[in-house]
Symmetry: C4
Subunit: 279 residues, 4 copies
């Protein structure tokens, strides 16, 4: 979908995930540090399950949208008449969504007691991001200079993300890597919107001169500004979460001693159950 909506849609997905992670990971990190509450482990496992489900559903929606928009391929790959390929762009986008969908499925399966190896969810996410970058890399040949450049910048965010997530396979729950991934995801989200605004000005404004070197210089710098904004957004969310967790802790303090006993009883029962299940 080479139009404004076709860039705004994935941009919104990435932005949503990025912003959500910019709340979730500080919350997990700070509540872990401050021992605000005890039932967190199970809670975060469930969150990952819901996230995986969302990823899978969004991907399915994406695939269906790419296939069945009015000018889509409607699941036909080869044109019977002249043996040419049908709407390869849409098929490529579907393929990108497919790998994100697979990553979502792995996330969901990890939740079930199938003993799926720890780290496989990160590997599959890393692969999904890599495949996105891989397809984009061969996507933009034979296009004007600015178009190629603006997509090349996107590749930095994408491959940077894929590399960072790959590291998480070996250093799971490393908070700096999680923050790094979050920032790159927000960057990707806002940059998709930027691409839409530059290549398909929605307001009907004048198009950008695609061959002007100073436009390319500005876009390069603009990419850095997007990243700076992503970092500032994360800082704000971190601060909000910090305040929230701190107040939470004060409120909990009084009732804590009473609850702690209750919890420890529950936990030992849960541990027993988990133990017997594992057998």
């Amino acid at each position: 979908m080479a139009n404004f909506k076709g860039h705004a849609l994935p941009g919104s997905f990435f932005l949503m995930f990025g912003l959500w992670w910019s709340v979730k990971y500080p919350l997990k990190y700070l509540s872990g540090k401050m021992k605000a509450n005890c039932r967190t482990s199970l809670f975060y496992q469930r969150l990952e399950f819901v996230e995986g489900l969302m990823k899978a559903i969004f991907s399915l929606v994406g695939i269906l949208a790419e296939q069945f928009v009015p000018d889509g391929p409607h699941m036909r790959l080869i044109n019977g008449e002249d043996h040419s390929w049908v709407k390869l762009m849409n098929w490529q986008h579907s393929t990108m969504y497919l790998f994100y969908g697979l990553s979502g499925v792995v996330d969901v399966l990890t939740y079930f007691p199938l003993k799926i190896p720890v780290g496989l969810d990160r590997l599959s996410l890393s692969l999904a991001v890599f495949v996105e970058g891989f397809l984009f890399y061969f996507h933009v040949h034979n296009r004007p200079q600015l178009d190629q450049h603006i997509h090349a910048l996107l590749l930095i965010a994408i491959f940077g993300g894929a590399f960072s997530i790959f590291l998480e396979v070996f250093m799971r729950d490393h908070v700096v890597l999680e923050f790094f991934r979050t920032s790159l995801t927000i960057l990707q989200g806002t940059w998709f919107w930027q691409i839409g605004f530059v290549l398909f000005p929605p307001s009907g404004g004048p198009e950008w001169n695609q061959e002007d070197h100073s436009n390319i210089m500005f876009i390069t710098m603009c990419f850095c500004w997007h990243y700076a904004i992503a970092l500032i957004l994360m800082t704000i969310n971190y601060s909000l979460v910090y305040c929230f967790v701190k107040r939470q802790r004060w409120n909990n303090c009084e009732m804590d001693i009473g609850i702690r006993k209750l919890n420890s009883d529950k936990d030992s029962k849960a541990a027993l159950l988990a133990g017997s299940e594992e057998e």
Copy 2:
């Protein structure tokens, strides 16, 4: 052997190893997790021995085939008449097989009590894969665009595999890396077949237009589909192994207590033997 068979043969080798690993590694991982039986360590050592032997034999077969096919070089490197090189393609393929053979030999030697450092088998496999990619990289200069592109995609699978195996030198028995290697090996296998079908259509069908940009776009996407299929194959095999190990465990449960005592006696004897051997 620049024909269909010349691509189908190595493709089958890689596919065979990939599929075998997609059974072996889940089995090792799950039976380790579930403590299904105890004599596994020795069992897997023997498997690696047999695997190494197979690798060495296949490589020897490959070298001999490349050298002694009717239009092969028959071990002659220089043409005496005009001082030109004889059949360099076949010599290059022989060289690829040679390094896989060396890797196989190292696997076999690891089995014997020569105190070969742990990790050397992974390094030699990584080198064999790297050499394959290295030779392919310089293999396809001066060819049509589609031919170059389809081999360049192969290089991603190859160098990805070499890198992943190199990591295994330092993180041996890391199950995620083993799964990753397996998936890339299956991908390489099926992609060799794909190359054969595209460049040398066996059914006598029409050849692909080598300069058509949409063919290149399709092939790029097709590479991703191959990988998706590799992942799905691995998921199926994992599930089958999971069911198998689970049932096995139930059957073993009853006789387990009796055997355990027996085994522990045996093991202590074996440990004693190993200890005295190590001295």
Copy 3:
């Protein structure tokens, strides 16, 4: 600021930081090894705070200088008349300073009890260096050969530094990495000066022939010499610090036993305070 001063200024910043680190890290390492004194941990934390503050202030100065020099953009980005960009070079330099500023802010915040994850300061510094290299990379298109080459060499120092600092996220306080970073920072500093001397000879000497291949060969070698000088500078500073710490230890020895008791009392109080603050 494409003139001699525009290169001498950042060069001096880097050189200053590099030389300072070439004293600080040996001091930290050697006094740690020799247990010269006990209040070091707090001392180095405060140093990092001051360093961060300096970085933030220098960056602010840099931004203001780039914006408000007589021929600067004065915070105007778009020329209202012909919709062209205003002074993009200065804006790009401002962006570089901005990221160093952010890194400084993170350093400062790390000092406060906001529970900012360990390693985030290194990540933000690594990003700042990466952004510098990233902007430089697209900076020098369409310039004469020698100009491009001399900046390309700078990129090696920059990306090498970014990579090395990224490793420090995972291996904090690894003394070899700290020394490596120091050497690359000194190299960057002296190389900025070298660029200034080559491209804008301040003495009014004859300009370098930008297309002469032997000039490029010399500059390549000269880059290595700069690095050799950086290493020698570091060696000298290391030796001086070594002598200083050794003498210090001798002087302290006599009064040590008396002080140690005092300190341990203070430390336990500080630990108590820190503990209650952390609560």
Copy 4:
């Protein structure tokens, strides 16, 4: 020195070091594994000292040879008459030797009680190898195709070695990395000889056709053969060392018990001394 001797000389240095390491590292590894004798730690420290000294001396010889051969620059850098550079090739080679010399000096200093950080010797060696590759990379512009290609292959061995040694900074005494470094060093040595034979046939034979594609294909493959030969040489040396260490152990066994007491006495005294020195 762009002639046969100019390639044979460094080739011999690398080959000598490579072969020496292919004996030293197996010896260290196997005698460590088999606990053949006890004074090994000090012994290997002394070996590293001698190695460093050799490196420094060889480098000095190399520098002097490059400078003071009859057609060398004799320490003059700029030709006073026409302000041109004097013999930049020789100066570049001198620079390469310089960094190997620095690495040797670091090795030597590590031996003295200056508390030089562990790993700095590996870093300086890695830098020396990197600088060699860096200078070679810009060395061969504007040359015939075969000349460029044969040097590009050398770069693979060089940068592979630099990377592998850089890993040793963090994984010191990792036997697989040491073997890998050894194999790449032997490869470099034999490849230098190969370059000499190809570009400057010493026997006065006919020169190679520099533009013939099949020559390039052969050279690519030949590079792999060199590596295979390096691996085989290492295997032979490993086997010889294995036999030697095994026989040694048998001989030592009888006198071992007597000596062990003696040694432990000595060691405890040495430990006391070292302890008091460290104070």
